[in-house]
């Protein structure tokens, strides 16, 4: 099992106490899970602040300025506020479904981080079906949004949940097909193998240079999968008030919010791994390269959000099926022919 090198000393410690075998593995994995959870919370705190600063600069709004240097502590203050908020459950809601929706939403976003390579050797477990596993587990978010929409017993929430389901399944296909081109070139679904297949040639082996169309399709579909503007119809504020999370408050709302930003980081991390060469880069440590590239994609997604207006729902669906899907098949054909021709 490949674990973070930092945990070498934990293994040694456990061995000294006399805990070995499966028990030691379990303790190490739980410690890793706690570490990833802490890391994701920090990343989400930073991303929320960053998004607000970017929106302020792009749209000449007022961004956070008071709490800490340029408002860096604003999200921390928001989190403390959310913990203290009353948890309101509507009388008519389906209480069990209402309760479990935010849990599933967060866990599906969280479990994807098992196979994300933060750097060379910095991966929890290099599953041989890596990329397929991420696609499968993050799709559970859709179920949680449907649960939230249904469980709230609210018309806005129901419409938001239904829209998100239709949108997510429509954009799932181009997303997966755009990644397929990379799998063909790498000859493996493991995230580590995909990154290693892009090393060398001074950076020109990154898949973005070989299949730019695939990257564009992935980026558009990923924006839709992460429910970001211009594809944020499930939570369109102006018409659905807040969509599926309309009845949520306090910590349950915080979990949806956290999962949204974690999902944004996930799709950016996948884009980095699959198209931008992952941790490959000269001079600096591998994790800095990974983080830098990922944050660059996150920045791009944020600029999208504050620059583009929202699509109409019929345009949204037709774009997925009539434009992105044929283009995705074209990309596969192109990769197939060229990979054979160049004997990649």
């Amino acid at each position: 099992m490949e674990l973070y090198p930092i945990f070498g000393w934990l293994d040694g410690l456990l061995e000294k106490v006399g805990i070995t075998g499966p028990t030691a593995d379990l303790i190490t994995l739980v410690a890793l899970a706690a570490m990833v959870f802490g890391l994701l919370s920090l990343i989400a705190l930073f991303l929320v602040w960053w998004e607000r600063k970017i929106s302020a600069h792009i749209q000449q709004r007022f961004g956070p300025m008071m709490a800490g240097w340029h408002g860096v502590l604003q999200t921390v203050a928001d989190a403390v506020k959310l913990i203290q908020k009353e948890d309101i459950v509507p009388t008519l809601a389906d209480r069990k479904v209402f309760f479990w929706a935010p849990v599933i939403c967060f866990v599906s976003a969280f479990a994807a981080y098992i196979v994300i390579p933060f750097g060379e050797g910095l991966i929890v477990s290099d599953l041989n079906i890596g990329i397929l596993y991420i696609i499968a587990i993050t799709t559970f978010t859709v179920i949680s949004l449907l649960m939230a929409g249904w469980g709230s017993n609210n018309k806005y929430a129901l419409i938001g949940g239904m829209r998100s389901a239709a949108q997510a399944v429509s954009y799932e296909i181009p997303l997966v097909l755009s990644i397929l081109g990379v799998v063909m070139v790498a000859g493996s679904m493991s995230m580590v193998d995909i990154v290693e297949s892009q090393s060398g040639w001074g950076g020109f082996r990154w898949n973005i240079f070989f299949q730019p169309l695939g990257f564009v399709i992935y980026l558009i579909a990923a924006t839709a999968e992460a429910n970001r503007t211009p594809f944020d119809l499930p939570e369109a504020e102006q018409e659905l008030v807040a969509g599926f999370n309309i009845e949520y408050s306090g910590m349950k709302f915080a979990m949806f919010f956290l999962a949204e930003f974690v999902n944004m980081f996930t799709v950016s991390a996948i884009a980095t791994t699959v198209f931008l060469g992952g941790w490959n880069g000269p001079f600096l440590p591998s994790w800095i390269w990974f983080l830098g590239k990922t944050l660059a994609i996150v920045f791009l997604l944020m600029v999208f959000r504050w620059s583009f207006p929202r699509l109409r729902v019929d345009q949204l669906m037709e774009f997925a099926w009539k434009v992105l899907l044929p283009l995705a098949f074209l990309n596969i054909l192109y990769v197939g022919v060229f990979a054979k021709w160049l004997n990649w």
Partner: protein, 118 residues
């Protein structure tokens, strides 16, 4: 390599644990003062009209059906993609035929206006 997948189970259970822990922590400090009007379903601030669970346009259902067809196709495509480099030209031609058949299905759905959101 089956043991690698134990990480998935541990992460899912630990993730649920973290979320429930956060809920429990919040429960200890937050106020809890529900009353009838506060717990009503929200609808623009006026009393809610009718049921929240209303009948829905079956568009979603049709998109769901098309999705299942293409998702199953993708499941077939992934093993092909992994082995693509070691397969000959024959594999490419075969897959083009397979995708072409499905694209005819997509064109049919397109012509029948199944891809139209009403």
């Amino acid at each position: 390599m089956a043991t690698d997948y134990s990480a998935v189970l541990v992460f899912i259970i630990a993730g649920i644990g973290f979320v429930l822990g956060a809920f429990l922590f919040a429960k200890l400090i937050r106020p809890h003062r529900p009353y009838k009007v506060k717990n009503e379903t929200y609808e623009c601030g006026i009393p809610a009209e009718g049921e929240g669970w209303l009948q829905f346009n079956n568009r979603f259902y049709i998109f769901g059906l098309i999705f299942v067809i293409f998702d199953v196709e993708v499941v077939f495509l992934f093993p092909w993609a992994v082995a693509y480099k070691s397969l000959g030209l024959f594999a490419l031609v075969e897959m083009i035929i397979f995708i072409a058949i499905l694209l005819v299905g997509l064109l049919y759905a397109w012509k029948k206006d199944a891809l139209k959101w009403v």
